[in-house]
């Protein structure tokens, strides 16, 4: 079937007169997993409730397979073609089996069919051995698997996931994330997945929508959203830590000279002279050298002098803040930090290639 499964048209939601969501248009295509990312309070859950027909917009229309959704009395049959999973497992008191079969029983499905699909669903999520366990005795991870199985056995046309991993500890989360990825890859179920976690969005999303302060600022394939954010807000949310305002002085053979805080940078981007821009640098694009110790590779056209202000361990990396006039953030492996003999207060040369920065035009 072609055409979007779900769509929003000129949708606005206000609570007590305060705007919480404004989406001029959004389309969700069949078989696609759309990851909606954004900070807490951005309106992601509200968006999901709209798409799940669990809430109505204050203004505008929600379309399901091209048709505007009917008044609330006739919503049930449409809602029964979807299924939702939330951050909390929200299981009913009873056994695992009773929970997984709940949605099917609500639809008055045939008994044999219910038991077949429940058995299948439990085995897909690896909870077959828990069938007779009471839900009160489950761990957080087990409970969330039950919640997912309960939605998946319905074989919904749209699966709605609202931060389903947010309350789980990292190993449990990674296990479940991997399983879900396999399941979604196999079923090609249309899925809308809300998360504040960039890694989860990258792992599951075919497309990523960035939502900030009630607006969807960018929808694209994950690589493009993360590499080429359209605005400063999006850039900050997808992990660009260094964002420097500057202006384009000249352009020659695709190479622009951009003046940023007294430094002259060379940037490979289709720009025109005189434009005001934001130069975005991801920490992993920046290389550090102790001042004067090494010559930087020649392909790194940009070299700035600065002083290390502080370093913060994050996993196997150090997140290093360097004062070059403006502040830059680089990530350095612990090993190179030690090999290069870096320390807070050290004089360094910061270098990055002309192709490294992503440039956003300023209005």
């Amino acid at each position: 079937m072609s055409g979007p499964v779900l769509g929003l048209e000129k949708v606005k939601v206000t609570y007590d007169g305060l705007p919480v969501l404004e989406v001029p248009s959004l389309e969700i295509q069949e078989g696609v997993t759309l990851a909606v990312i954004g900070p807490n309070g951005a309106g992601k859950s509200t968006l999901l409730r709209l798409l799940g027909l669990l809430e109505r917009p204050t203004e505008g229309r929600v379309l399901f397979r091209g048709q505007p959704i009917p008044p609330s009395g006739k919503l049930l049959s449409l809602r029964r073609r979807m299924a939702s999973v939330f951050q909390e497992p929200l299981l009913i008191d009873g056994t695992v089996e009773e929970n997984v079969s709940l949605g099917l029983r609500l639809r008055h499905a045939d008994r044999a069919e219910v038991s077949r699909r429940v058995r299948e669903g439990m085995s897909t999520l690896g909870i077959g051995h828990l069938a007779k366990r009471r839900t009160r005795t489950l761990s957080g991870g087990e409970a969330q698997r039950v919640s997912l199985a309960r939605a998946l056995v319905l074989d919904p046309e749209v699966l709605l996931l609202d931060e389903p991993f947010a309350a789980l500890d990292p190993p449990t989360r990674e296990g479940l994330l991997a399983d879900l990825k396999t399941i979604l890859g196999k079923t090609r179920m249309t899925t809308i997945f809300v998360t504040h976690d960039r890694d989860e969005a990258l792992a599951l999303g075919d497309r990523v929508a960035v939502m900030i302060e009630g607006r969807i600022l960018q929808v694209d394939v994950p690589e493009r959203v993360f590499a080429s954010p359209v605005s400063e807000q999006v850039a900050r949310f997808v992990g660009v830590e260094t964002i420097l305002p500057g202006h384009v002085r000249s352009v020659r053979e695709g190479l622009a000279t951009v003046e940023v805080a007294g430094w002259t940078l060379e940037v490979a981007a289709p720009l025109t002279a005189g434009e005001r821009v934001l130069v975005c640098l991801r920490p992993e694009e920046i290389t550090l050298f102790p001042s004067g110790a090494f010559a930087a590779p020649s392909s790194a056209r940009n070299q700035l002098r600065g002083t290390v202000i502080h370093h913060l361990p994050t996993g196997p990396l150090y997140r290093v803040t360097i004062d070059c006039g403006p502040l830059l953030v680089a990530s350095v492996t612990r090993r190179s930090w030690e090999q290069l003999g870096l320390a807070d207060g050290a004089e360094v040369v910061v270098s990055f290639k002309a192709s490294a920065p992503h440039v956003i035009r300023r209005a």
Binding site: R49, G52, L54, L76, R79, R80, M82, A83, S84, F86, E88, L90, I92, D93, L102, G103, L106, R107, R134, R136, T137, R150, A151, L154, L160
Partner: protein, 232 residues
């Protein structure tokens, strides 16, 4: 002390011999308070659920009124139900005053706010997101309400116990609208008062023991049902 001891001995004899009048009084108490409780459940559970889930202007006032009603003094209820049922009252034509039905009505008025108020509390202690989750699994409105009540069944049984406990033990309303008429509207509490005032302490103690036994039996059954669900 001697009085209690003698009275208890006499009472046990009365009970063992199965005094016909005592039996009649006990059965009437059970029947009247049971019916009143049942009616209060029929009204209180739907009303309480509605108040717990619906959002409308004046809702918090309605809930406060119900909560106030949970402490209605039975004697006041008896007075007002009595006024309605008097021959000259608005419902006088029904000729219900001094009948078991009149006691049922008064006890219903006492129990209904208790059941309603505790139902509101029982449903509101559930996770508010459970309702959205159930809708998100394709439950109809009615199915949502049914599932929520099932989830709240333990505190709801407490509501039943509180409702029944409130009416089986009250005396003011039974006296005022029932009149404590021999072989017609005499219940355990009114009979106990009467026997005490006559100085028949053995009979009074026998009736009290029965009242305690009856309350215990009913609550024990309900507790058993309630706690059965607690086992993992």
């Amino acid at each position: 002390m001697e009085l209690i001891w003698q009275g208890t001995k006499q009472a046990l004899l009365l009970l063992v011999h199965g005094d016909a009048e005592v039996l009649r009084i006990t059965l009437l108490s059970l029947q009247v308070s049971g019916t009143a409780t049942l009616l209060s459940l029929l009204v209180g559970i739907p009303l309480g659920t509605f108040l717990a889930l619906a959002r409308f202007p004046g809702r918090s006032i309605a809930v406060s009124l119900v909560n106030t009603g949970m402490g209605l003094p039975p004697v006041v209820v008896g007075l007002f139900v009595g006024i309605f049922l008097w021959r000259s009252g608005p419902l006088g034509f029904l000729e219900l005053l001094y009948t078991p039905t009149a006691i049922v009505i008064a006890q219903f008025v006492i129990a209904a706010p208790i059941v309603t108020g505790l139902t509101v509390a029982a449903v509101q202690q559930l996770n508010p997101r459970l309702r959205v989750q159930l809708l998100g699994l394709g439950a109809s409105r009615l199915q949502v309400v049914w599932l929520l009540l099932k989830e709240a069944r333990l505190p709801l049984l407490a509501a039943v116990m509180a409702g029944f406990g409130g009416v089986i033990s009250e005396i003011g309303a039974s006296m005022m609208v029932g009149g404590n008429i021999y072989r017609q509207t005499r219940v355990l509490t009114t009979a106990t008062v009467l026997e005490t005032s006559k100085g028949n302490f053995d009979m009074a103690i026998a009736l009290s023991l029965l009242l305690l036994l009856l309350t215990f039996a009913v609550n024990w059954t309900l507790t058993w049902v309630q706690q059965r669900g607690r086992r993992p």
